[in-house]
């Protein structure tokens, strides 16, 4: 398959998936609607697990684990900025302590 055709098709498929439930399909109702309403926190927790295991360092890397623990420690602030900052500072601190 021609590379340009492949890229256009990949772009069309990806955009169709984005636009389907955002704009085109009817809003979910009934039990599906309840499920969608409950979904955000579990969905992002699941994606956190994916991102954690996807990182090249892996789940047993101390600085990465420290970043997650630092972020969890800042959860009570309910501020995206402070949670991110706590995670990144913890990562830098533990990275500096355990060395390269």
């Amino acid at each position: 398959m021609n590379i340009w055709l492949l890229l256009v098709a990949a772009g069309a498929i990806t955009y169709a998936s984005r636009v389907a439930t955002t704009a085109v399909l009817p809003a979910p109702e009934g039990r599906l609607g309840v499920m969608i309403e409950r979904l955000p926190a579990p969905l992002f927790a699941a994606l956190a697990a994916v991102a954690l295991t996807d990182s090249a360092a892996g789940i047993d890397d101390w600085p990465v684990l420290a970043a997650v623990v630092g972020a969890l420690a800042a959860v009570r602030t309910r501020s995206m900025f402070l949670i991110l900052a706590a995670g990144l500072v913890s990562h830098a601190l533990v990275g500096w302590l355990v060395g390269p």
């Binding site: 398959m1 590379i3 340009w4 055709l5 492949l6 890229l7 098709a9 990949a10 498929i13 990806t14 955009y15 998936s17 984005r18 636009v19 389907a20 439930t21 955002t22 704009a23 809003a27 979910p28 039990r31 309840v34 499920m35 969608i36 409950r38 979904l39 955000p40 926190a41 579990p42 969905l43 992002f44 927790a45 699941a46 994606l47 956190a48 697990a49 994916v50 991102a51 954690l52 996807d54 990182s55 090249a56 360092a57 600085p63 990465v64 970043a67 997650v68 630092g70 972020a71 969890l72 959860v75 501020s79 995206m80 900025f81 402070l82 949670i83 991110l84 995670g87 990144l88 990562h91």
Partner: protein, 215 residues
């Protein structure tokens, strides 16, 4: 812009930078497989790290175009629950939602859903910056930019971001319990089946949220 809005806008910076870093990695990897111009065009018209890295990896291993598109279609399924979550939060008519849908990626959808303000505006702003960072990163990668240690720093942004998004969207105790169960079950799933990926973990999250049968 009040102090809270300024802080939330500042939290975009590490996310956008991390997306840019992965754009550089993608540009460097893709230019050797599909060529520099198609690498940049792919970022312009697909704007999906998962789909683009898979496309390049599969082409490098000799997969057919149809096999590549099948994998792209499977990976694109992750947008369906994110779009359904965003839909009731987006303002405007069909055309406005269709325009904003272009910027739907895991990170921007999460920021829009968790934002205390307008989800439409957050999706648009976070999406536009992420898109620019992704394309600019790809261009830099194609040109052979050297990242140094930035890659490992960028990698840690995503788990921290999703922990933050899970925390900010867990507004009641049952949300917290479901998030903890979904996170733990996803880690377990990935330990026994690493290929399950984001789609498998999203299925786990959906299973946790299925309501009981009405009595």
């Amino acid at each position: 812009m009040n102090e809270r809005t300024q802080l939330e806008a500042a939290s975009l910076v590490p996310v956008v930078l991390a997306i840019g870093v992965f754009g550089v990695i993608y540009g460097a990897a893709a230019s050797g497989v599909i060529g520099p111009v198609p690498a940049v065009v792919s970022s312009l018209i697909v704007f999906s790290g998962a789909a683009q890295f898979s496309l390049v990896g599969l082409l490098a291993s000799g997969a057919s175009g149809l096999a590549v598109l099948a994998v792209v279609a499977i990976l694109a399924l992750r947008h369906l629950p994110l779009g359904a979550l965003l839909r009731p939060r987006l303002e405007g008519g069909l055309a406005a939602r269709m325009g904003r849908a272009w910027f739907l990626v895991d990170e921007t959808a999460g920021l829009a859903i968790a934002s205390g303000g307008s989800a439409s505006r957050t999706l648009l702003v976070a999406g536009a910056f992420s898109y620019l960072a992704w394309v600019a990163g790809t261009v830099l990668g194609v040109m052979g930019a050297d990242l140094g240690n930035l890659e490992s720093l960028a990698e840690v942004v995503f788990p921290v971001l999703f922990v933050a998004l899970a925390a900010l969207t867990a507004r009641r105790r049952p949300d917290v319990v479901r998030a903890l169960v979904a996170g733990a079950a996803s880690l377990l799933l990935l330990a026994v089946w690493p290929g399950a990926g984001a789609l498998g973990c999203m299925a786990v999250a959906a299973a946790v949220c299925v309501p009981g049968k009405p009595r």
